[in-house]
Symmetry: D3
Subunit: 307 residues, 6 copies
């Protein structure tokens, strides 16, 4: 039982927080239409993993006989879920215009979704190349299955490759939400706009950041905490950042980058290079280079415990 | 069906693990009262996000007409949930005393919760300033909505601002659990005791640590992996750390700190400064400074593959 | 309603993605047996935390009287769940052999699970030492309970100590999935093969990586972003990495390693040493050393805003 | 693991049961559109009960202050759910026509749903009269609240009054499903087409059947097992029953009918009559009548135990 | 998207339905306190069945070793759930008084609940006698277990015996809700106030009604559709029925009553009697009687098909 | 917080209720093996309805293209669920023998389940005949779909036809649980042992009872409350009923039986007969008969209100 003063405070809070004329409501959706649903996108993401790696997720026991049934049901359901979310995403992106006819988007969304599924076998091929390169590069990996079950690098790459395919089909918002879901689970943040070749490996992975305009070749390996980021970016005359300008690194084939390295700007890390951990790189690196942090200081004789 | 030996081993384990006289039970709650519930705090956290950013989370389609209903129900429910958890938190903090009268805390908890809701519109204003500064500072952000939906920096800041308000109302334990929930989801660890100004941006965010006695000005931007931590701390004569002493950095207005920088101790990073990535800073930095890691070593010609 | 072309595209996708003769299916389980279940392992992990730290998780109010009931039920249920998952893990590891008799594994799995529960009181003792060292080392920790509720370092250590015990009992796959679950929640990646002494502390924790062959002494403290990794590893004549060779650091008693330090290879960090943040260490460090990054560059007067 | 023969049998069953050319598929929906959802209708039914009798169902604690919020949210949500189900119901009823444009129904469905909500306060008034007459007629009823919480007669009447209102708005299929839900829960089967006055009481209720063309006055009371049914019905020249012809009883004001009475055909039970239990009535009953079963036979001296 | 008129209709409905001054709100709880929860009572009912018949419900595999754990946890949880619901029930019954101090009821409720559990072993003994008499009286029953798993008569008797025990401890409202839950599941309506001896059998059971003041001896068997009801009841000078007056039958030991028999009023069915189906009995029946319906009419030669 | 006395009472109750030496534990399963699961059988029952009547239950939108996927997945899942429950049912039936090798039953159970699925298309054919006869006999039925969605008679017949098929394959216990589930939902109690021809109709249905040894021809129609039961049964020399003796009616083709008729014993109701409501029949009825209750008594002028 609330007392009278509490009742009044709560009523005031309701009023203040639902005041559509308040300045703080500029961000609120005003169209009364369904918004993209985080829960639905979670389900879509789980379903797609089950389609790509059958047998590992969910309760079913896969055989050659029953696999088409499971794949069929999963694709049918995910088609409906995903095309609905894509339609909502398109509607969301149009929401500034009062006259947006969100209903028309449903047909567009279904066409896009069909194209996505056409592309899905290729996505699976790329992910299998990622599983293999991860297996070959990690003495602690005992089987392909262990990687599929539990390696965060593969999970983040899976969501990225899905999101990237959707972005190429001009789907707004949804791709970013999908990679952020993987970011939340794995600590690996890959912008869906980045381009990444085959046989990509991220070991441990936590803290990796790959920016929107990165171009990464084949057979590249990144360790935890690696940043492929932007150094600075030009603004327009209103002081707003100009969107879409190339501002992240190009990483060529066969490069390895060790933990916590920070590589910023539209520079190129030449093929076959090795970048050591904890370095700060803002300039081009020639092919076949090996870059390390400068030597540490040994302060052992200066002061006692602590730093 | 367990065989006889297994049955015996399990019975022994039950006995050993429920032996209240064992030394390992010093930490176990002994009062037989309800403990704070992680599940309830998750629900509270979700509800508060729905109140602050209506329309983005949950299934409802918001209009000017129905918004007061949704805000009203959400505040009513969250009031009950939160005041119960606050009461449990207070009881938990008193548990050493055998005579703690936890029942009395319910009225206190309701008063505190009402004060919290009084403050909630201000929290929303601050968070809107954070959304705007994030939008302005990130060329990859296409809309306010995309940030609200999926940016981990905003999620962590939201939980922090809620937790900080509760801590100022002297709520024990609960604020820390709330920021740790966001930590788990985002990899960003902000202690609820830190003070952070408006227009705060964390880009990518994974690995950021902001300590208990940090003071951060307005319009500050941090990149992933930045630590604002303690260097060392004085202990009392029993060797236990003295709690509550200022030991974390002060970061003034308009500072930018790049990825993986580690800044330790009660030092001041002067206004408008730029701190490069991967540096280790334990001394004051003057206003308008620009600090970078020392130059890397190019080892390309020394030995073959690997490091 | 899908149109005809969409229907055809989806049917083609089903066919392509369920084609067992396709090369991309090399990784798919072909035995038609139940695979390890992520959901079940989540439940097991939650149950074990409830057994080790009674009263903190779940809805029950613990007293000396009812504790044996709760511990008893929890152990009984977890015994069945865990022995089933162990049996599935063993079967999974044998799956290459067409003649694997997975049914026989059930008895083996029950014996292993019983041994695990025999060891559980010891695991609790070690974890209590970790709680205490965390409490003593963190001025921001107000009580043991706050650490148990919400410290990610303790959560990751809990899953590690469970997984390590299972690995010593020769359980395949399951230990790695358990530590990866904690990795996903906390950003802390500890390989179950590592050996870690008592009174282990990880502060904040996000981004910590501890490799498979690490040996860590007692009373060690790691900060966020610390890597104890491998530098390179020998391959066999087919170019595959040789598994199981010692390749990660030995960290002796009482060492403290600050944020983002990267320590690689089978080197030894001598007892009582302090390693500063953001350093790159690939050589032995003598006992009682203090190692820091080389001094930063002050570029304040070079160019304007940004880096 | 299934053996080969089992695998074959199952594959055959899949083929046989999904053969769209089979005669047993005449009843299957062929339009590929969403069908009415039993789960959604359950939720709608629960929501409407919460709106009509606030405070009894769900977790919320109702006060004069928060009631509008709860009613508002409940009506908003139920509006969307119900109008979607009505649209599906209309589409289902049109499904024979290949050219049915089910999309157009959404607007119609929203209009119908709005009219339904306009009528809802009247439905509540009628139900309150039912609660009062039940209370007055049952010495075992201690409070209005006990009736609202747990009396099956009221639950069945609630669903009937809702379904009847929808039927008057020409909604197909959905009304019948709603009354069958109450039938399943209570054993009381009221066709939504029946007309029932105010202050209606059903005591115990199990087995009551009220046919499609019944007309029941005010202040009528029925006991368990009462049938108000049809005797026989005319068929058309193809032998199919002609739908919609009045064929069930008219029960005038203030009639009481005792347990298990079976009353069939378009007859009238005159006002103020009392019909005893277990009778079979197929002819008109004058007002103020009292009808009983013929006297029982006492067979006590004929044969031993049993019958 | 709702159009304007719909929006207005809904807003009007919200206003009308949340108008606390409206006459239709007389029944609404006004105290702002928690009401009894149907969901919690369902859980309580399930738990008590698991305690009484261990091994049949839930997922656990019972052995002599683990049974005490399961019973212990179940009783501990159910104690808290039930005492909370009893406290709410008492508060509900006091709600007319504005000054009701519902908080005080918690201690009373805990005492009552403890007394209930003290009585629970006796309830189990009675139910076992019911299982045995059901087994002995039904040639279709193959085992005690089949009866426990699936016989609705036993389910209804279980809830009745629980509810009756609570009613004897003066718990308001809750007992009736518990028997109505069983009524909904089984079609058997036993008022918790009835008194029923041991070895009670209900075969099939649907439609059985046993009134509030019934007294039933030992070893009685009822078939489906039997009513033990009230004929009429005296009203006070305001025309309200006087509550609590004996008005239902007394059924002595060893009586069998066949399907659909309706027995009304405070009459006595003497011991060892057999009552045939479909009879209407409103007078005393001597011990050892056998009562049948009067002979049927054979109308075969009167008119054609139908009736 | 429980006080001391309560704590003691609860501890005593735990002890008393888990005392395996107590007489009340004779019925408890002692084998420590998994028991049949009501929840799993619910899921099986839902799945089979979805397979038989695709498109009506669940969320999927059926087309000729996707139907095989849904049927395939549903049969695959249900095969595993059902064969596990059958194995548990067989084990349960063997539980008296201490040496029962329940593991061996799994292969038997899989074979039985395969045979059941072989028979499923025939079950669907029979149910379609039931849908058609229901449609033809009920002027209130507007479409086949309405019957499939919501008619309790069809639901009970569906579970009966499934259970009868399992019983013919000698599955113990499970068939009875399946028909009791339908009994609980519909109030219709059909013993799985009864034999029922095609084109079977039950209108309204609540309270219908069809005994274990009934034989019902084709094209039979029963109304609510009809009992086809046993009159008495022979006992063996220990006084236990002899199981399996024919003791229920034979109902020939084209018979109609009206509401609440009670027909007992191994008698024959000849073809084309019509039995009126509320009669008690214990003797053979010749073909083409029409049987009615004896005429009612009109007591209108005897005494005032009530009965």
């Amino acid at each position: 039982m609330k007392n009278e003063e509490t009742t009044k405070i709560l009523a005031d809070a309701v009023r203040a927080l639902s005041d559509f004329s308040s300045e703080t409501m500029v961000y609120a959706p005003k169209h009364g239409r369904s918004m993209p649903s985080i829960d639905a996108l979670h389900e879509i993401s789980e379903n797609l993993r089950s389609i790509i790696f059958p047998g590992y997720f969910g309760k079913s026991r896969i055989t050659a006989q029953n696999l088409p049934y499971y794949i069929g049901v999963n694709i049918d359901r995910t088609f409906h879920l995903l095309s609905e979310q894509i339609a909502r995403g398109i509607c969301f992106a149009q929401l500034e215009s009062e006259n947006a006819n969100c209903e028309l988007n449903e047909i567009t969304a279904q066409k896009i979704t069909a194209q996505f599924f056409k592309h899905l076998p290729t996505i699976r091929e790329l992910l299998i190349s990622d599983v293999k390169s991860t297996y070959n590069g990690d003495p602690a990996a005992n089987s392909y299955g262990a990687i599929i079950y539990s390696y965060p690098g593969l999970k983040a790459t899976t969501n990225y490759r899905i999101a990237n395919a959707l972005l190429r089909l001009n789907v707004p918002l949804i791709p970013r939400i999908l990679t952020e879901m993987a970011h939340s689970e794995t600590g690996i943040d890959i912008n869906p706009g980045a381009e990444i070749g085959h046989s990509f490996t991220m070991d441990h992975g936590t803290g990796i950041v790959i920016g929107e305009t990165c171009i990464i070749g084949n057979n590249v390996k990144l360790y935890q905490g690696v940043t492929l980021g932007a150094k600075s970016f030009p603004c327009d005359k209103n002081g707003n950042p100009i969107k879409g300008i190339p501002r992240h690194p190009i990483v060529e084939n066969n490069v390895v980058i060790y933990a916590q390295a920070t590589i910023l700007g539209r520079i190129t890390i030449g093929k076959n290079s090795v970048i050591g951990g904890n370095v700060w790189v803002t300039k081009n690196v020639a092919p076949d280079s090996k870059i390390l942090q400068s030597a540490v200081r040994d302060m052992s004789f200066e002061n006692g415990a602590g730093i």
